[in-house]
Amino acid sequence: MTNSSAHTCDHCGLRFSRAAKEAVCDDKRELAFCCIGCQAVYHTLHEAGLEDFYALRESWSEEAQPVDPERLQADQATLFDSPQFLQDHSEVLADGTRRIELHIEGVHCGGCIWLIERMPRLLEGVVDARQELARRRLTVHWDPQRVQLSEIARWLSQFGFQAHGIDAKNVEQRSQSSKKMLTRVGICWAVAANVMLLTIALYAGLDAQSDPGLYTGILWTTFGLAAVSLYVGGSVFFRRAWTSLKAGRLSMDAPISLGILAGFGHSGWATITGHGAIWFDSIVILTAALLTARYLQIRGNSLAADAAERLVALLPRTARRVLSSGPGLPKESGAQELGSVEVVPAETLVVGDRIEVRAGDVVPADGCVVIGKSEVSRAVLTGESRPEKIAPGGILEAGTTNLTSPIYLDVTATGASTRVGQLMEWVRSGAKDRAPVVQFADRLGSYFISFVLLAALVTAVAWSFVDPTRAVANVIALLVIACPCALGMATPLALTVGVGRAARRGIHIKNDDVIEALAAVTDVVFDKTGTLTEGRPSVVDSYGDQAFARRACALETRSSHPVGRALLKWAGPGISEAEVEEVEETPGAGIRGLVDGSDVSIGRLSWFDDVSSERSNWAEEQARRGLTPVAFAVGGEIRALVAVGDGIRPESKGVIERLRRRGIRVHLLSGDHPRVVEETGRALSIDEGLTTGGVSPEEKLRYIEALEREHPLANVAMIGDGVNDAAALQAATVGVAVHGGAEASLVAADVFIVRNGVAPVEELLQGSQKIMSVVHRNLKGSGVYNLLGITLAGFGFITPLLAAVLMPISSLGVVASSLIQSSFEPDRPEELPEKAPIARHSTTEPAMEPAP
């Protein structure tokens, strides 16, 4: 396809062919839309006077997110308006209005924020709306007399934003503890700065002889300030050290605490007696630097905990309980015939209840189907994208989405005893048991203090023999030049800058301590679904009259079925000329209509009467490979077949090849059918011995554990999506969750990638290596500086004043070195948007080409 025949959808930015443009083009404004849905949203925005959205959004998401209008159901409305929910989740303000915090799914950029914050203007009764980008948190302030919360949620869902209630209590608690820590950091730095200022006077030559009053005053002031720093900042380390000592382990907090306490004790004694060196400045700086690193860590962790809260949103909060399920039930399902259904909170369900799950609803509890046939999607649980058929007798887990028609279940497990509940419990306990990764800088910092103290002692003793008058000055110079702020900042600063840069590339690194492991990764375990493959249907193979099939695809311009979209893409721009009339869609079977006057039908094989054995053989073979055969017919006679399945992403092969060349073992581990997995593995030339299909979540966990047992030195990175991977993500050295999976897998993962495909995985590994090389550069730099400085000072070549001048230079060096790192570079210049809409979507272009 050439660029001239391609158009960009004015709403979602998807590229499409001329044909589709004409099919749903808006004549008045010469706009182009890829589908009717985008056109509708575009007009909704314009009618509401919200055109600025298009100017403010940064970029189009690479793949349009499907917005399911069914997702905000009446049930959710009842939940949002129930007095219980409002009481638990919102607060009443003095004037009778209410305020609530909601988690909003689907917020990507400035455009989204702008849109959401226009709510008070457009929705009567909303006083204020503030949306946070990073945490996707919306604070709404509304008047319950004039507007219902459910109306607010419905307004948001119009634009594809989905609101979830969040457990305000836990979130509040976490944000309080994070705020407390930030306050501590602030106080420690304020103290540190003032101690440094005062101490400079001492370095500059102020001593007991020149001005005894001032000297004593400064000494005692710094003593007092250091005590404040110890109380506010140091206590964090003391408490943790004490806890770990009580538990019989020696954590890194212990040497830090010891260093701080020893330094403070010695300096304090020196202040009181008036003899000996003062190290208050070193102590307060070290405390402040280490506390800063810890704060950054806590901030990252609280983002993770927020994600854990959202697990609640995974399961519906309400269920439709069937009230009178007496004997003599009609065989065929139907809500009317079954008597009344009441909407109840999901937690009130008990085993044995009968519940109704309508099409589009998420199953609220584990259960056994008693009435009704439907198709369900277990994507959240298994990552399997294909819908599965379900019939009476089938078992459904909570979290499964019912797709096509209503079904009735008898509840077998609820809440924490459901499969999802158990998996999450597993993850949570795993998180607790996980040994904390010791920060290299912490380790070094504590040794460093001991080393400096020793060096100071040696210097003092040696000089008192050589030249007692210079002993004190040299010791002071040594202690000044050995200021550990460069060393203390080296690692956290480099990591923080790197993590920030990664986040701008759509790679969110939750715990920066995994970067060290990522840089030296030896095994990468891929989950097939959604990572290496497209994660949505596309045409993989075809049989029979292809040219006809492509033309026939014009029918699908009228369909929103996912398979239809795949066919359209496959058909390419050639379908523009076709005239489509009298389209009639039969759900679950196919679509039929007139294309250029001939009666064409597209659908599943069983929809057609006579199928030649040759064709059905082909179809069966495709079905065994895990693909869905689709038949094309004219006047009921089948002319062509295509196989639709989850196609491999074009870039996957190259990435895997490059990983292997770097000596990384690439594994493929998937819950999909073994044949499908084998096929994918072969297509990507992954070692057959490292390809495993049909694995359950438990087996995935065991696989990772076995891998780590066999290769004790291995750094295993597990890349997956879906809740089913959560345990394995947890077990791996580094768990990477990718876009498209359930947000729930975030809890277990150390890294979360919001961009599609496998390319960001490679970027992550490369970026981590670069960050680590910056860390090493920093550590080496400040280490050499300190060693050199200590040696020179120890031998008396540096005066305290010179030391005071030199000291900030090392810190500045570290800051500069951290800031100019080259990790997670933005796209190469040629990919930068010059003709923005076209260039930006170069990555999606291969998908538009007809499948081979």
């Binding site: 403010l56 004037d95 400035g110 705020k179 306050t183 602030g186 700065a193 009053g213 005053g217």
Partner: protein, 53 residues
């Protein structure tokens, strides 16, 4: 140098003021969201609407 006897307490008082201000800002939630306000300034002004409260 006697001026230092005055300057040091002033410096301390300023530091205390800074710490108090900082603590207030943290409590107010000024540091909760460092990203969105940067985007929010780009939005055009609305026609005046009723102010909350």
């Amino acid at each position: 140098m006697t001026i230092l006897y005055l300057l040091i307490p002033i410096a301390m008082a300023l530091a205390v003021a800074a710490v108090i201000t900082f603590t207030w800002a943290v409590r107010q939630g000024q540091f909760d969201d460092l990203e969105t306000p940067a985007i929010r300034v780009l939005f055009d002004d609305e026609e005046p609407k009723e102010e909350p409260k």
